[in-house]
Amino acid sequence: MPEMSRISDVRKVPGGAWLVLLALFALAATVTNLGPALADLGGSVIFGVDDMTNQPAVQFHFSRLPRLAMAFLAGGALGVAGALLQQILRNPLASPSTVGIEAGAQLALAVTMVFFPVLLGWSRDLVTLGGGSLAMLGVFLVAWQAGFSPLSVMLAGLMAGLYASACVTLLALMKEHYLGGLFIWGGGSLVQQDWRPVISLLPRVAGGLVLALLLLRPLTLLSLDEGAKGLGLKIAQIRAAGLAIAAALTGFVVSAVGIIGFVGLAAPAFARMTGARTPASRLLLSGISGALLLTTTDQLLQILESGTGIFLPTGAVTAMLGAPLLLVLVRRLPARAHRASSAEKIAPERSRAPVWMVAGLAGACLLAVAAAVLIGRGIDGSFLLSPFDQLEDLLPWRLPRTLVAGSAGILLGLAGVFIQRLTANPAASPEVLGISSGAVFGVLAVQFLAAGSGYLVQVAGASAGALAVFGILLAMEQRRSRSSDSLLYSGVALGAFLTALVSAVIASGDPRAMLLLQWMTGSTSQADWTSAALLAAIACAALLAAPLFSRVLTLLKLGDEAAQSAGIGLRAARLLVLVFAAVLTAVATLAIGPLSFVGLMAPHLARRAGLLRSLPQMAGAAAFGGLLMILADYLGRVAYFPWQLPAGTMATFIGGPLLVALVLLRRARTA
C-alpha cells in the first residue's frame, strides 16, 4: 500500500503558504499605513530625528514606529504564551484570555492603581504577574471540580474575565476620576509615545521565549499524559514552570499595553493550520503568527482611523475577531461521551430532610427582607433599627428594591439549575449562554438609534437583544442537535463576541455608551412599586411552573443517550427547558444587569446543602439566589454609605470569592 502510506505520511511541505500569505498581508497593511509618510520623510527617520520641531518626523519616529514594534512584540509574546498553555493543559481552547490570566492582571493593576499606586512605581510587571497567576490558579481550581475538561477551563476563565471586569467597574464607580483611563487601558491600546515601553518589553519577552525553548523537551513529553511520569519527568514542576512562563509573558504584555484579547488563542490555532505539528514548531510558529496577526490588525485599524476618524482600541477589536474563532475551535473539539465530573462523583451527603432545609432557607429569605427594610444607616453613618412609625416613609425606598433584587435572584437561581442540568455541566450558567450579553447589546443599540429615549424603550431594546441571541442559539440548535454541549459552546462564543463589541464601544469614549454602564452594573435604586410587583409576580409564576420540569431535568442530567432511551423527545424537551431558562434570565438581567454570578452559584450552594435531586435543588437554588441578591442589594445600600453601589455588581463582587471558597472547602474536605 505505497499510496496509502504516502497519504498519511507527514506532509513534507506543510501549509506554510498560509504563513507567507499572512506575512504578505501584514506587510501590505504596514506599507499602506506607514509607506506614504516614510516616502515623505526619507528613510533616515527610522533611525532618529535630527530636527525635533519637525512634527511629522517626530510623530513617525516616536509614535508610529514604536507602535509597530509593540504590536509585533506583544503579539509574539501572546502567541508563545498561548502555545505554552495549550501544550501544558493539553487543551486547544487554552489561551491567556481563556484561562483568566489577562483578567487577573487587569484587576490587579486596577486595584493597585487606585489603592497602592506606589507599587506601580516599584514594579508594574510584578503586579500584573501576581494578579494573572492568582486568577489562573483560581480558574484551575474551579475547572478542576468540573473534571478539567477543555470546555470547563474555558468557562471558568471567561467567568474570571467577567468577575474582573465587574470589580474594575465597581472601582471605577467609587473612584470616578480613574474611569476613562481604566476603560481605554482595559480595551488594550497600542498607542505609543516613545520607544521606552518597547525597549523594556523586548528583553522580558526574549527571556521568556528562551526559557520556554529550554523547556521544549519536557513539554513534548507532556503529550504522553500519564506516561510522562513513567519517563522520569517531574510533571508537576514542569507544568508549574511552563505556566509561570506563560503567565509572565502575558503579564509583561498586559502591563505594557493592556488587554489584547484572543491573540493568544488565534495564534496557536493559526500555527496548527499552517501544519505546525510538534510542540517546538507550534511554539515558534505561534509566536510568529501572533506577531503578524496583531500587527495586521493594528495597522488596519490605523488606516481606518486616519480614513474615518473612528478610534477603536486594538485589544477590543482582536477580542471581537477572536470570539467567532472560539466558536469554530470549540466545535472542532472531539465530541466526548458524557462523563460524570469529579464534582459529581464526590457528591455531598444528601440531606435527610430536604423539605425542612428548603423551608429554613425560605425563612432566611423572609428574615433578610425584614432586616433589609428595618435596618438602615443614620445621618452619622451608624447602623440603626428604624422605628415602626417611620416605616411608612421608608418603605417605598427600601422594600421595592429588596423585592426586585430578591425576585431576580430567585429567577437566576432557577435558570441556573435548569441550564446546569440541561448541559450536564456544573460550570454552565445563564450568564454563560450569552443571553445577558444580548440584552446589553440591545440596550446599546437603542442608545445609538434613539438617543435619550425613556426607560421603556430601553427595556424593549434589552428584550429584543436577549431574544435575538436566543433565536440564534435556537437556529444553531436546530441545525445540529447533536449534544447539549454544542448549545453551550454557541452561547459562550456569542456572549464573548457581544461583550467584546460592547466594551469596544465603551472604550471609544462615546457618551451614549457611558449611559449604558449605569444599567450594566445592575443598579436597583430606581425600583418602584410597579416594577417590584411585576417582578415578584413573575418570580412566583416561575416557582410554580418549575416543578413541572423536574423529571425531565433529572433524566437530562444522565446524558442524552440515557434520557432518550427513557423515552424523552430530546429536541422538544431541550427546547422547552431552554425557552424557560432564557425567559427567566432575560427578565432577571433587565432588573439587575448582566453581571452576576447568582445563576452559577445558587445551584452549587443548593448542592452543598445536600439538595441533590432536581426538585429540592430547584427550590434550594431559588432560595439561595434570592438570599444572595437581597444581601447584595442591602450591602450595596449600606456598605459605601452615603453613596450606593449597584446590587448586580455587588453580587458578583461577593459571589466570585465565595464560589472559589466553596470549591476550596470541598477540596480540603475530600483530600
Binding site: 502510506s5 498519511s8 505520511d9 507527514v10 493539553r90 529550554l214 523547556l215 523537551r217 519536557p218 513534548t220 513529553l221 503529550s223 504522553l224 499524559d225 500519564e226 506516561g227 511520569k229 513513567g230 519517563l231 522520569g232 519527568l233 517531574k234 505539528r277 510538534t278 510542540p279 475530600t670
Partner: protein, 255 residues
Amino acid sequence: MFKINSVSFAIGDKTLLQPLDLTIASGRVTGLLGHNGSGKSTLLKLLARQIAPSSGEILLDGVPSNKLSARDFARKVAYLPQQSPDTDELTVRELVSLGRYPWHGALGRFTDKDRAHVDRALKRTELERFENRIVTTLSGGERQRAMIAMLVAQDSGCLLLDEPISALDISNQIEVMELVRDCAVEHGMTVVVVLHDVNVAARYCDDIVALSGGRLIAQETAQSLMTESRLEAIYGVPMGVLAHPKTGAPISYVA
C-alpha cells in the same frame, strides 16, 4: 526484581489494596489477574511509582524504590498506562524518541546512542516502515506497538503494562503479547502485565498474581493456576478447564 513488603493503598477511609507481601522475579513475565476493582491496576501503579503506597515499602533490586530519583527510576522501570494518550500529531519515530528522555534529560544532546536505541526499538516492534506515520493514523494494534516501542527505547530492565490488549481484536492481541513475551525471553526483561483474559495469561505469562477485593489470593506459576478450583476462587464463578485440542495446553471456560 520487585520485593513488596506489606504495602497497602487507601484513599480516605477506603482501602483499595490490603497490606500485601509479594516478590516479582526478574526475567519473567508476571500476569496480574482479578475482576474489576480487585486492585490489580492499583498494584501496578504502585510498582510504577505513579502513586505512593499508604504503608509499607517497595524494593527495586534491593533498594527502596522511592529513594531513587525520577530519572534513575525511569531508567530501570518503564510503564504503559491503561489509557492511551492523545499524542497530538507526533510521528511514530518522534513518539519512540520520547522514550530516551530519562537518558538525555531536558537539555542533554540526543546522541547517536539514543538514535541507535530508537532504531532498535522500531526494528524489534517491526514499525520501521511506519516510522514517519502520524501515530493517530495507525490501527489500534500498531498504535499499541508504537507505545511499547517507546518503552523498549527507554531501555529499562522492566516493563509494567496496564491492560495493553483490552481494546484490541484477537490478531492484534496475539501480536502485542508475542512482542511482550519476546521482550522477556529474548532480551531478559522483567514484565508485569495486567490482563483480563485468563487464557491469554496462561499462554504468555510465567507467573500469575491474582487479586480479589484488594487482597492477594494466588501467586503461582501459570500452569498450576489452571485448575477448576483455583480459577473459581479468583473469579467467583464455577470454571472448567480442558486441554487445547492441538497443543494440549489447558484452556479455561465458564462452567
